[in-house]
């Protein structure tokens, strides 16, 4: 799982950089997945902390993460989760990294409580907006799910390089 997530995050960031975009949609992907069931719990908040730290390349306090999550949630609330997911999908299509984005989304979904129906719906929305075929999404779900079941290393460790196992 860690290889999938780390590679996908790097692939995404490289694609964003190559196409002249900021990688901030990764924050939206994380918050969209974490808030799919209507709330962001403590475990999801910790997962988002790792994503943001990886993305920004610096240590962040819980307060900063809260601010980022709150800001993103406000945007999602104002724009609508579906609309925001469509925008994220369109941006992923712009940079030609829809599969990497879906992999990150699936990895984050599996990292909390497994892939729930709400999270799958968000993934599907992003994939559809990105022009990814439903068949390919199902393949990615199976691929990421297989690693999630087989690899005991947590996604938190995988997306936060250098993190100690008991952190």
């Amino acid at each position: 799982m860690r290889i999938i997530i780390t590679n996908a995050v790097d692939e995404l960031c490289a694609a964003f950089e190559r196409q002249g975009y900021n990688p901030t949609p990764i924050i939206d992907i994380g918050v969209l997945i974490a808030s799919a069931d209507g709330k962001v719990d403590e475990r999801e908040r910790e997962m988002l902390l790792d994503v943001f730290q990886t993305l920004l390349g610096t240590s962040l306090t819980a307060e900063v993460v809260d601010n980022l999550v709150t800001a993103s949630l406000e945007v999602i609330e104002a724009a609508g989760a579906e609309s925001r997911a469509r925008l994220v999908g369109a941006i992923l299509r712009d940079i030609g990294a829809v599969e990497a984005g879906v992999r990150v989304a699936l990895g984050l979904a599996y990292a909390s409580h497994g892939l729930t129906g709400d999270e799958r719906a968000v993934v599907d929305r992003i994939a559809t907006a990105g022009g990814l075929a439903a068949k390919r999404v199902a393949e990615l779900v199976a691929e990421v799910g297989k690693h999630a079941d087989a690899d005991p290393v947590s996604v938190r460790q995988s997306i936060s390089p250098g993190r100690t196992p008991d952190a």
């Binding site: 780390t6 490289a14 964003f16 950089e17 920004l56 390349g57 925008l87 941006i91």
Partner: protein, 246 residues
């Protein structure tokens, strides 16, 4: 990012472009159909008139022949003069030849009219089809002049929505909506200037805070803020896969 103009790139927004092109084509087809009906009616009447003229000419020819035969029989009955009969016969034969020639002329004119009618239908049909194709192509090209900039703007707006404000792309020559694009560029310049000024202020404050030994959590907060502000302006280091756990 400049993109090459290919056949595919002419249909950037098929739904929008084909809808307006279809409107244009439908309007022209309706006008052409109306005109075509009028022209077809006029041509039909001309053809009917020619047909009637031929019928009348045939009837006149038949009557003329009948009259000639009756006149010939009358002359033969009234007079035994073979010379008179011969003159009469020649005269009637000449009249019949002339009548047949006139009938052939009328029929030839009818054929001409029928041929002209067919040619007119072909020209109208072919010209109409060519005009529809030309209009379709023109519709796609004209709408492309509008959709192209909109397509590019949508893409750039999505980029700006990620916080990236450096826009190097420009519209192609001949594209519409130049004013809108220019306004968009001016907006990104203003936002970039504000972002740069804020970053400079933050950097200076951070430097002073470090120099004066500010509290660690204050410095961490400022660095986190700087990391958010500078996101995308500096190259990101690739993630390092942690060593496998023992």
């Amino acid at each position: 990012m400049a993109y090459a103009r290919s056949k595919k790139s002419y249909l950037l927004d098929p739904r929008f472009q084909l809808k307006w092109t279809a409107y244009l084509v439908v309007v022209v087809v309706l006008v052409m159909t109306g005109l075509g009906v009028v022209i077809a009616r006029v041509a039909g009447r001309t053809s009917d008139t020619a047909h009637l003229a031929v019928s009348q000419a045939e009837k006149a020819f038949e009557e003329s022949r009948t009259n000639s035969i009756l006149a010939m029989r009358g002359v033969q009955k009234e007079s035994d003069d073979p010379t008179l009969a011969k003159v009469m016969e020649d005269s009637l034969a000449e009249l019949e030849v002339q009548s047949a020639k006139n009938l052939a002329d009328v029929r030839s004119r009818q054929d001409d009219i029928a041929r002209d009618r067919r040619n007119l239908q072909l020209v109208l049909g072919g010209g109409g089809a060519a005009l529809v194709i030309l209009l379709f192509v023109m519709g796609v090209v004209i709408t492309h002049r509008i959709v192209g900039p909109v397509h590019k703007m949508k893409r750039l707006l999505r980029r700006v929505s990620t916080g990236r404000l450096a826009i190097e792309e420009r519209l192609r020559r001949g594209d519409e909506l130049e004013d809108l694009f220019d306004t968009f560029l001016q907006m990104t310049y203003s936002l970039r200037a504000m972002q740069a000024a804020r970053l400079k202020t933050l950097d200076a404050t951070l430097k002073r805070a470090e120099a004066t030994g500010a509290a660690a959590d204050v410095l961490a907060g400022m660095r986190a803020l700087r990391a958010q502000m500078v996101l995308g302006l500096e190259p990101r280091r690739a993630s390092v896969i942690p060593p496998p756990m023992v």
